[in-house]
Amino acid sequence: MITPEISWLAILPELGLALGAAAVLLVEVQWKPRAQVLGMVVAGALTIALAFTVVQWIRAQDAVAGAGQLGDLVAFSRMILMDGFAVFGRFALLVTTAIGITAGWRLIEGLGRRRAEALALILLASAGFSIMVSANNLVMVFLGLEVGSIALYVLAGMTRSSSTSDEAALKYFLLGSFASAIFIYGVALIYAGTGQFEILAIRSFFSAFIVTSPGVILIGIALMIVGLGFKVSAAPFHAWAPDVYQGAPAGFVGYMAAVAKIAGFAAIARILITGLGDLEVNWLPVVAGISALSMVGGSLLALVQADIRRMLAYSSVATAGFVMTGVVGGATSGVLFYVAVYALQLVGSFAVVAAVSGPANSASSMDEYQGLATRSPGLAAGFTILLLGMAGLPLTSGFVAKFGVFSDAWSAGYQWLVIVAVLASVLAFAVYLRVVVNMYMSDAEGPTLEVPDTARWVLMIAAAATIIWGILPGSLLDLASSAFPL
């Protein structure tokens, strides 16, 4: 009798999310309750998922410390891993999800009866990305990626209050599918070259064999980089990002962008650094090139945007480049720290955007922010902290994050990339300062904004995290550095 190898602990968080999604849908069908009830169901699912994630973390740390078997961290016939890296990524995803839902709560409420679908899709997307960060098998990565992405395509087109929302959804969908196809083709070629889908096995393969003419493997690596580069919106695979960020409902964009970045970078780091570390001489220059192009191009384009959401989109392109310097540096901790803090900042920023220009709206001109500091000082202050954090000013977590990845890249011998990066950071300052200028330095008067409490909470958490991890980064940095992949 052949039985499947089941490790419940490894999938309990995802299971919690999936069951939560199902519960939301069922509760909605059955009782058509108020939004708060659905919210509580979702909160329950997330709490359970987070709780099990903590348990996983303890297990992973114990295993590393010698209290358990490292083999325990490999589950489901080597399909997924429970190593610190995966758990950290999952935890970040779950927190981002919770905050993202809070930030988009007003939008969800406004969706009427479709709110259950929205909540279910969010939970499922998170489950998918959660699989992606923990997958050891490239097909699993692909599945997780698709689960997450398809859900996001739907979320992008969910409100359909304006024609741009349609446009965003279709563009996201077409290009996303294109990228997925390219990614899975890369996986197929890697499989053809190595006979393996498993990242750890691929690593063993390359440490055991020296492939003299790696042919398909190199093309496979290239295609995987491209496919994942799309997900994290690295240039030149970023073209979807501005349009989707602008067109999709503001209440969701922060969440969508943040989870895709977390999962995408987790996958990139695991595949490239863990799986293909022995071939880094081949892929490092390419990733460095993508990184540089993203940083410079993203910043330049962000500089000239008149719409804040496009600006944030291009700046996220630049951020993808910055995070990628950490990939070049070959240290996963820097990447994890960066995406974790950036995810919070992104969600918080879009909470502000949703508060200022309406959660379902897709136009959010910079001009709307004029005089925000007098109209809604708290909002402006919080947003400023987030913007400075994204810019990477000292005393914010963004600075620590940048410093970390730049250091890694420097130690990896990519000095030129660090220099490009620091100069691109200056461009990024200019980008974010424009918003601050609008908020603080224009005397435009206007009615006081009515800001939903949920947005306030999100902003407060995000801003506080930005400051606290900027001043005392040790706690999170320690976590990130003990969250290395197997």
């Binding site: 000013l393 970390g404 420097w410 100069l423 950071s425 300062l433 603080y440």
Partner: protein, 510 residues
């Protein structure tokens, strides 16, 4: 102790921010009252500081061990005067801000945060911490210029921010490089200045790193030709902003050159003497020449800063004891005099809402006390002996002559040019018959305004006549920097009085 120096302003900022916005009358007075606390503490540190070389009141707490970052603070004779100056200027700057009506609370908060950052820069002995503070102060200053400035404030604020951030960007890369060099040579990352000073850098790398640091500091100073952010920032900034900008922020550049470039890259520093020296001297002359014809009083003072700070850079790179002490004390002097000049211009602006020289004339008639203070500070700035500006510039010039005679002589012409631009401006603003009706009945300085200026004026005199009050504490530390450079680079510093070393026999061949 030193941590409290940084924390006190932060706490003050928090306290002020907790006062409800509608109690706007409280914010400023509360801010001033709280800003006196760091001043008192700094005063105590000054009093307790032993006049010997090396850092004192050292605090060293690991911040993040894996990166080798420590909360390492210490104070020596070079940073001590700057800290005291900072704590002194902040309450004065706040006191000069009564005319700020809009969003006063924020203003006070930003100013106090700025103070914390500035003190942090001077105290940091860990390059990471240093960089954090160095960059962080851009934010409050950016807001101060951008929110409470005059017409082109946004342009000036953004330019200030981006320009200086651009400079420090490469320094960040340099800091990372140093830390990793430390990891290569000693096995662990470290950002501590004392650790990094032990590095054995190849000369090529040392030059590149020197350049990266020097660019950051040169922009901050600002050195010709990267100075143009300064006139804009000064002109647009509110009075308090200008005072702190001129008084302290610019000194971060000269302080950085002295503290970091010289200590970390002694050999490259010696190699760069001519570049830095020529830039400094060009700045001295050029800043002064350009200042002469400025139509705006604040721009004029701003360009004069370019000129004055050239002396400090020249003194730093002259590598003689006198010049180095002169550079350090000139840091303080320029802060006091130029800070006071900006205060004065600000007071004038509050009365007339213009800073254009052509708008004035003959106002000594209606504002004799004001005119007196202005003239006093102008002469301090010109470098009149007996006032503080002279001590620094004279030490620099006399000291620099031994090693850089040509540059020192050209630099000396700056003192003539200073007289030209300041006295010409004084003539146009204060003398003659007040023809414009709005100039005829200007109110003279109030008691509050006199109280703001008086301590600065007193310091101008005290330092001018008895600079030992500072030089005693500066000298050992300055000597230590010099010794380090000499030791590391094998530089031979000609001793004054040893004619053969310094004076190449002239054409007469005797």
């Amino acid at each position: 102790m030193l941590t409290w120096l940084i924390l006190l302003p932060v706490l003050a900022a928090i306290i002020v921010s907790l006062v409800p916005s509608r109690r706007s009358e409280l914010h400023l007075s509360l801010g001033i009252a709280l800003a006196v606390l760091p001043l008192a503490l700094a005063g105590y540190v000054f009093w307790a500081f032993e006049p010997v070389s090396g850092y004192q009141f050292i605090e060293d707490v690991t911040w993040y061990a894996p990166w080798g970052i420590g909360w390492t603070l210490g104070i020596d004779g070079i940073s001590l005067p700057m800290v005291v100056l900072t704590t002194l200027l902040v309450p004065i700057a706040l006191g000069a801000s009564t005319s700020i009506e809009k969003r006063r609370k924020e203003f006070v908060v930003y100013t106090l945060l700025l103070e914390a950052g500035m003190i942090g820069v001077f105290l940091a002995l860990d390059l990471f911490i240093f960089f954090v503070f160095f960059e962080a102060i851009l934010i409050p200053m950016y807001f101060i210029i951008g929110i409470w400035g005059s017409d082109r404030r946004v342009y000036a604020a953004v330019k200030f921010f981006i320009y200086t951030a651009f400079g420090s960007a490469l320094m960040l890369a340099g800091i990372i490089a140093l830390a990793f060099t430390h990891a290569e040579q000693f096995g662990s990352l470290s950002f501590a200045l004392s650790d990094l000073m032990r590095l054995d850098l190849p000369i090529g790398a040392e030059r590149w790193l020197f350049a990266a640091f020097a660019l950051a500091f040169a922009i901050k100073v600002p050195l010709f030709p990267v100075h143009t952010w300064l006139p804009d920032a000064h002109t647009e900034a509110p009075t308090a902003g200008s005072v702190l900008l001129a008084g302290v922020l610019l000194k971060l550049g000269t302080y950085g050159l002295l503290r970091f470039n010289l200590s970390l890259f002694p050999e490259a520093s010696v190699d760069a003497v001519w570049i830095m020296g020529i830039l400094a001297v060009v700045g001295i002359v050029y800043g002064a020449v350009v200042a002469i014809v400025q139509p705006d009083l604040k721009r004029l003072v701003a360009y004069s800063s370019v000129s004055h700070l050239g002396f400090i850079v020249l003194g730093t790179f002259a590598f003689t004891s006198g010049a180095m002490q002169g550079a350090v004390i000139q840091n303080v002097n320029h802060g006091i005099t130029t800070g006071a000049l900006f205060l004065l211009v600000g007071m004038l602006y509050e009365r007339r809402h213009t800073k254009l020289i052509s708008e004035f004339g003959g106002i000594q008639k209606s504002m004799p006390v004001f005119a007196g203070f202005f003239l006093f500070m102008a002469f301090a700035s010109i470098g009149l002996p007996g006032l503080n500006g002279f001590v620094g510039e004279f030490l620099v010039l006399i000291g620099a002559y031994a090693t850089l005679p040509v540059l020192a002589v050209i630099a000396a012409s700056g003192v003539v040019l200073a007289a030209i631009y300041l006295l010409w401006a004084y003539e146009r603003v204060f003398t003659g018959v007040p023809e414009k009706p709005e100039n005829q009945n200007l109110a003279d300085l109030s008691t509050r305004e006199v109280a703001l200026l008086a301590p600065l004026a007193a310091l101008v005199l005290v330092i001018g006549l008895y600079p030992n009050v500072l030089l005693d504490k500066i000298a050992p530390s300055a000597e230590a920097v010099l010794d380090h450079v000499v030791e590391a680079s094998g530089l031979v510093i000609p001793e004054p009085g040893r004619l053969a070393d310094v004076f190449v026999t002239d054409g007469e061949g005797e």
